[in-house]
Subunit: 211 residues, 2 copies
Amino acid sequence: MNWRMHTDYRVYLVTDRDLCLGRNLEDVVLAAVRGGAGAVQLREKNASSREFLALARALVSRLQPLGVPLIINDRADIALASGAAGLHVGQSDLPPEDARRLMGPDAIIGLSVETREELLDAEKLDIDYVGLSPIFTTPTKTDTHEPWGLAGLRWAREHSPLTLVAIGGIHRNNAADVVAAGAHSLAVVSELCSAQNPEEAARNLLAVFEK
Amino acid sequence: MNWRMHTDYRVYLVTDRDLCLGRNLEDVVLAAVRGGAGAVQLREKNASSREFLALARALVSRLQPLGVPLIINDRADIALASGAAGLHVGQSDLPPEDARRLMGPDAIIGLSVETREELLDAEKLDIDYVGLSPIFTTPTKTDTHEPWGLAGLRWAREHSPLTLVAIGGIHRNNAADVVAAGAHSLAVVSELCSAQNPEEAARNLLAVFEK
């Protein structure tokens, strides 16, 4: 499977077990996928490596047969050991060139960019998307740069040919604005992980692209 | 270079930048190696992945030409990307089978064991040594099991054919007892990192084996 050619990034779930309202992560993820989430990123900053790998393997075995790639945050070793489809790296994670070298030519590689300079620099890299982070201020991630905002996102769309994944503070009520400003993808954590009904919440986000 | 056949584990330095008394880690490591440390493990629980990789690369380029392997703690991706000679995993890290698969047949793989059962289970694994942890109680690592003690170490030597790396609370004044009890290797953090003279401290540890 060449995930790089066949991934629907429009609704991109980024996990946070602590935000799942006590529900099982796998159940929440599968519900979101039934609602139309086309990509899932497993982000585990506090799990041990062994626990992270076990979670990754469980999700790979459920998601990838459905055509939905699992993308691992930061840890190329976990991605490789679990057979995940890809790796997402931030500016303090493995450099994207090393990520590509370790993961091989068919893996999805995504890179977070927090500034215009980082966005423009990303053009020369062999990556599949950039995550513009954060679009809005968000309580989920507090160590971030100044938000891109809708104006910054518009600028990004005008100045970069890359697939733009918008992340940070996106929810049902601002999703249409984010897409109108140029995002190819809505990446969300709490909007899906903490939704009463993650399937319906994913369907609502996907519907934004179909208007 | 087949590190698995040619590594002198007798004095095994495990790094902790915070214990280097403000000195540069590379300088401390190289001094210890001049004194006879034959293996170095880079342990970085708080560094970002990018910083960890940069440290690993710097040490690989200095150590491995001297015939001293750099062994990375936990992170197979950092080990692979830096060209390190090996990987050390604990019981909550990547399973040793996955570590071997990712690292390949020529890499050093070490495994921490905290109980007799874990030690005996390790015999069937394709690993190069076990780290008996901790031998004594130690302030460096507080999340550990009950210490092996000298009696536990003797038991280990009698019941296991594996190379036994003793770690935890080892210093100049108890090193001879630890070797007499059966350790093939003295792994130390503060005894070298915090030594006034790491070269001399390494020489003192090595001398224990030569008596």
